[in-house]
Subunit: 551 residues, 2 copies
Amino acid sequence: MDELAHADLGPRPFARWSDPEDDATPVRGVPVWLARRLGDLTPRAPVPISAIPVPPSGLSPDAAAEFRQAVGPAYVETEPEARLAHAGGQSYTDLVRRRFGYDVAVPDAVIRPASHDEVLSVLAVATKRDVAVVPYGGGTSVVGGVEPVDGGHRAVVTLDLSRMDRLVDVDPISRTATFQPGVTGPRAESLLAEHGLTLGHVPQSFPRGTIGGFVATRSAGQASTGYGRIDDMVVALRVATPVGEIRAGTGTPNAAGPDLRALFTGCEGALGVLTEVTLRTRPTPEERHYEMWAFGSFGEGLDTIRGLVQDVDAPDVVRLSDEEESATTLATQGPKGRLAALLARVRGLRTPALCVLGWEDTAEGVRRRRQAAARSLRASGAIPLGARAGEAWRRHRFEGPRQRDILLDAGVLVETLETATTWSRLRDLYDAVSRALRDSLTAAGTPPVVMTHVSHVYPTGASLYFTVLARQLPDAAEALEQWESAKAAANEAIATHKATITHHHAVGRAHAPYLVHEVGELGVTTLAAVKAHLDPRGILNPGVLIQASPR
Amino acid sequence: MDELAHADLGPRPFARWSDPEDDATPVRGVPVWLARRLGDLTPRAPVPISAIPVPPSGLSPDAAAEFRQAVGPAYVETEPEARLAHAGGQSYTDLVRRRFGYDVAVPDAVIRPASHDEVLSVLAVATKRDVAVVPYGGGTSVVGGVEPVDGGHRAVVTLDLSRMDRLVDVDPISRTATFQPGVTGPRAESLLAEHGLTLGHVPQSFPRGTIGGFVATRSAGQASTGYGRIDDMVVALRVATPVGEIRAGTGTPNAAGPDLRALFTGCEGALGVLTEVTLRTRPTPEERHYEMWAFGSFGEGLDTIRGLVQDVDAPDVVRLSDEEESATTLATQGPKGRLAALLARVRGLRTPALCVLGWEDTAEGVRRRRQAAARSLRASGAIPLGARAGEAWRRHRFEGPRQRDILLDAGVLVETLETATTWSRLRDLYDAVSRALRDSLTAAGTPPVVMTHVSHVYPTGASLYFTVLARQLPDAAEALEQWESAKAAANEAIATHKATITHHHAVGRAHAPYLVHEVGELGVTTLAAVKAHLDPRGILNPGVLIQASPR
């Protein structure tokens, strides 16, 4: 996966995903087009980082000394720069706070262990000294998963796992690879490419995200239909907890009681720190082919892709946009509206639903599977738009966060949220969440554009991914409240429809209050009982996954 | 799945799997052939059931009255017949005890709830009255999962779930079906067949096993390569615990923290009682095709089936026998050794390894996938033996337990055990476990026949299933000790090789002491912490999964 191996972005700027000057690929017409739809926007540059106040580190000298002993003096950083660099994740609200210099929290120190044993030592010191520990991979959480929250403890440190970036072992016979948690997506692909292998796990966070983060958040990549979710790839885990080590997984599925891999896949650093992850790999595909199709409507598209995943042989990537998202694509990509005009004039499709389909396989596999899918697609009346549009999507698929930077500069509220449910409930859920978002933001005086796609399909159901854009309110507190209200309305709609609060973004702090709708009071207290057993002082990522109980 | 819908066996005899008189399919030459290999066997009929002493029920009148209130007076049975009918599972040691009338434990009562709420009520009474509860589906456990063990509580009751046998709901769009736990395998297939659907989950226990049991033991069916393990089919669960209800699963995979479905899939009734199970279904396959191939050796077969599952498109059923098991098949099945003679004379294969491959798919799917597999098989030098031998295996695939009855009557020790590991470690594990079994039984003066097959293949590894036969020692205590020593030797070999203690038989009481090798001390105490939270008095299936701690 050569192209993937080179997706690494280098250090992240403070209030952006990527440095605009480093951005080799120009981001195209989206912002201009959107500005027209959202009304008068007020461009807004981030405040300089020097304007962000950083309080002195609250770490006691004794605790600091013991942490230094655990990982070496150079790897306990208390300077403002390192602490600011770990001031939360990449959600819209994280970025708003950093851009406005409003309510930016920083950890008391950043600790960079180099091994499983060093992680165990750090957790022992933290337990003894009552210091909260926030495990940190690529810092790409969009659900408040890496915010430096002390949870009532004496201090909070960020446990930056970037030094643990080795490929520990490859088993070419069993096609598994064991990584340390801090290996980024591109680095993992680059290391595996030397063995002719790939993970094929490409979430939007891929360029900065880490193996540990992918597993801790139970993520799903854009090609999850073909390669599986990260849950499907986890063969074994090694976990450091405040009370010792857990190893889960023996190389194959088995029946040895509840599968403990599932307790730590998705633990979000609240039950332990992943220190070694063994994943299933596959041979690098011989061929990749992406193409685009147009359906008469989102509904027709849903029925057809359901047929593909239930009865045919689903492509490895399936991404169906609703009419609104398709209109944006048609208006802002490709040869200036030509495709839209063609669809309207020749096919009578004025509001099509576009769909990207991708195959990564042997040449023969791609050929055969494309043919089988094409038969179903044509039977449903879908119109092929060819490989150029599909390949364009693939080339630009990690650009979302860069486009967001530009939109934020332009004064746009821009955020995404996602859920999933069964095929039979999908349409109602889509309507309810879209309506909740529109109603909330319209009531705030900022009518939004809400665009949706389905990008993860299963035999039983599918995900829904909403992108929301609106004119950002000018004041930081107002801007935060503007989005938080809309998000709460969407969450209520999700809970009402018994869908999941998160298909692939994880729970973090943002969704923790809604977990009870999904797993019930007893589900939440069961997770809390596990946490109490493994983390008796509650130092691990307080408030993530399980809401903070009063201390 | 018509054939499957008719596999139901009716009531189970006390010391056998099936009533020999009901046995429509004659079991062929295996016993005769085996007798020759094992030396002088002494035929041994079970003692009459009337010879089994049944103590009076130890249930207090108050507890009995409250249980009657919970489920209705007719459904709390304390008569000897009902209690004897629930005296443990179907392991070799279970059957030896019942056949010899030696150390047969019976519950103090059998309770048959009709609903989730009744199960909750029973658990509340049991908690209040300090009565152990053993959840019971088809009673087919081979690991001591349904033995009536009081675990130091005042009494023990068996919670027979056979009245909870409804198909609660079918969602044809999402292709899911919700069952009560007591639905047997054949009944589930029969109910689904009305909707054109199937589960395709056919473990050896299928004719008597139940949906609840399949999920509680995290089982894998013979067609797991195609249809997936039960873990892969579980969409949602409803669980009754002594402290209330848990619902897990929202219809699709998600990222909402640790997947709680995995805590109850494989909970073996020790963490809760499954009261509703929603499973993924598939359309009834258009065509089924089974065929047999011969490899030059077990090793060649392993390399080739690994290639099928890693690089081609594995058949839905893959079952590769080692040379010893293949010799038994050739000696005892088919037209009296003709196949063996043919292989030896024409192909020079004196000790072939036979392999059953099966496809269940659309006619086109079967054709295409068979062709692709055949290319790989021929390239590896495998010899096609045709569909007749494959179909013979399919027709007789649920006969193992009947053959065992006959072997037990003939005075044979006959038991199976299984494990799994990665492809790279599989051969060493095979050698070590086979050797441990042979050495132990040879030391007991009863040199065994040990036959092995691989029947569940994954991209990362595969299962190993051992069938052990030896001359049974004449005394009940000696016979039990004879097998328990061999099993312990095998378990040690499994632990030494870091393989799983059970690929699909579950932990039960038989494997509970070995779980610590697999998930570590902290893994075991974490499960115990979950149990303490959900079952604070420890009434649920004491000693199963988690070894009894001193009370």
